[in-house]
């Protein structure tokens, strides 16, 4: 009888129910909230659904999914994220999808893309001042660049224990661009400024389009060598696209490969959201400072666009400065909509794409700089 009881007790001890604490159910609620946002509200579903479900599974006690050298998700995380392969392949796809034409036609927009990294640095110092380590502060600051893969890449390198929080904050705020940015745009600009139309962009030649990724890879790679993996993959993807001679590679980079790595990215990030790591006051700090980062980046882009107008003969519409946060193409769409609300004849979409794609490069440069400065 005693033996039977022992067997029963052993079986019970092996179940998740026996090992359930209060933290796990809390994490299920958080995880399912992200799944709900993705499924019902269509908020970044490609990422929030796998991240949310990954977080749910990893918080099943005894599942061992994140057990080092054994767990399935540990392999996704280790080989996909820690080795940098997955974020880099995402950048290959982004390069193949991105039209840098508006930036080539108006290279001044590079300055707006750089100015909209303002929030990254504000958040960095904010996070340092409230007690985050330099590595954590850099990972939180980069949320202000509104670029998911760069945030993930930076956090994996600098503060991997914060990965779930920074990635979710970055994607949440990117999805909220249409809510966060319009009030800031209206606060920082007058109706006259928002009504301002801009001259159509000049056509860009094929040669310019081919030379652009090569030049960017060389200049950024030499200036910030730590950014070489990301900028290299972004630019080779773009060279595939613009050269026109490798349509099969372009297609794979844009679609099949991008979709495959998105699955591993989502599950790998979700897998880091273990209850004991995630349910800490620091995570709330990540969200709050991340929002500051995003807000100040938008304000930085708008303010710099106005400053630039002091020196320009052909004035730009300052709204497009807000598109300097990456979030491609949501931020450019928001700039366009705000412009057309002020003046129905105002079509800013392509003008806003210039700072928008410049913002991607700007965030990569900031990330490379951080990794070089405080990377271990």
């Amino acid at each position: 009888m005693d033996q039977l009881f022992d067997v029963y007790r052993n079986v019970m001890h092996q179940t998740g129910f026996w090992n359930l604490g209060w933290r796990e159910p809390v994490m299920w609620v958080i995880a399912l909230t992200f799944v709900y946002l993705g499924v019902r509200k269509n908020v970044e579903p490609l990422l929030l659904v796998p991240i949310g479900f990954g977080a749910l599974l990893v918080n099943l006690p005894m599942s061992g999914l994140m057990e080092a050298h054994h767990g399935l998700f540990w392999y996704f995380y280790h080989y996909g994220l820690q080795t940098e392969i997955v974020p880099s392949l995402i950048f290959l796809g982004l390069g193949a999808l991105t039209d840098f034409g508006p930036l080539i036609a108006n290279p001044k927009m590079l300055l707006l893309g750089a100015a909209a990294q303002f929030g990254v640095y504000v958040a960095l110092f904010g996070a340092l001042s409230v007690g985050f380590t330099p590595q954590e502060a850099c990972s939180i600051g980069i949320i202000g660049g509104a670029d998911g893969p760069t945030t993930i890449y930076t956090t994996v390198k600098l503060a991997p224990h914060l990965l779930g929080a920074t990635a979710l904050a970055a994607y949440s705020y990117m999805a909220m661009v249409p809510i966060i940015q319009p009030p800031l745009i209206r606060m920082m600009t007058t109706k006259d400024e928002r009504s301002r139309t801009m001259k159509q962009l000049r056509p860009v030649s094929k040669l310019e389009r081919i030379l652009f990724p090569i030049m960017v890879a060389l200049v950024v790679g030499l200036l910030v060598p730590a950014a070489a993996p990301l900028i290299g993959m972004l630019t080779i993807g773009n060279l595939f696209r613009e050269s026109g001679v490798v349509p099969r590679l372009t297609d794979v980079a844009q679609n099949a490969l991008m979709n495959i790595v998105t699955i591993f990215l989502g599950l790998g990030v979700g897998a880091t959201m273990d209850a004991h790591q995630f349910l800490r006051p620091k995570v709330i700090g990540v969200y709050v400072i991340g929002l500051f980062a995003f807000t100040f980046s938008t304000v930085g882009g708008l303010a710099f666009a106005k400053f630039l107008n002091l020196f320009l003969k052909d004035k730009i519409n300052p709204i497009i400065g807000a598109a300097g946060v990456s979030a491609v193409p949501m931020a450019a769409r928001v700039a366009h909509r705000e412009g057309q609300k002020a003046n129905p004849k105002n079509y800013l979409l392509m003008h806003a794409m210039g700072p928008n794609v410049a913002g991607v490069i700007g965030t990569i440069v900031a990330a490379g700089f951080f990794i070089a400065m405080v990377g271990r």
Binding site: Q200, R333, H336, Y347, L349, M353
Partner: protein, 71 residues
């Protein structure tokens, strides 16, 4: 005087809201165009009568393509 409503960027025509002979006011949306997954109204540059419609739904257009002529 005739005025041309042109495509502000490359894109696809989703909807044409006017036909020849229609009266339009300045800023009335005459065409709905899609570019980069955003639908945007292309508005009349002046009030008047639609003299010509040069686009149709589903058509891809380049930047500066004339969509509607108003006189």
């Amino acid at each position: 005087m005739a005025a041309q409503v042109v495509a502000p960027m490359p894109g696809k025509i989703i909807e044409v809201n006017v036909k020849v002979g229609d009266q339009v006011k300045e800023d009335d949306p005459v065409v709905i165009m899609e570019a980069m997954k955003i639908e945007m109204p292309i508005v009349a540059v002046q009030g008047g009568k639609v003299a010509e419609v040069r686009c149709e739904p589903g058509q891809s257009v380049e930047s500066d393509a004339v969509l509607v002529i108003i006189e």
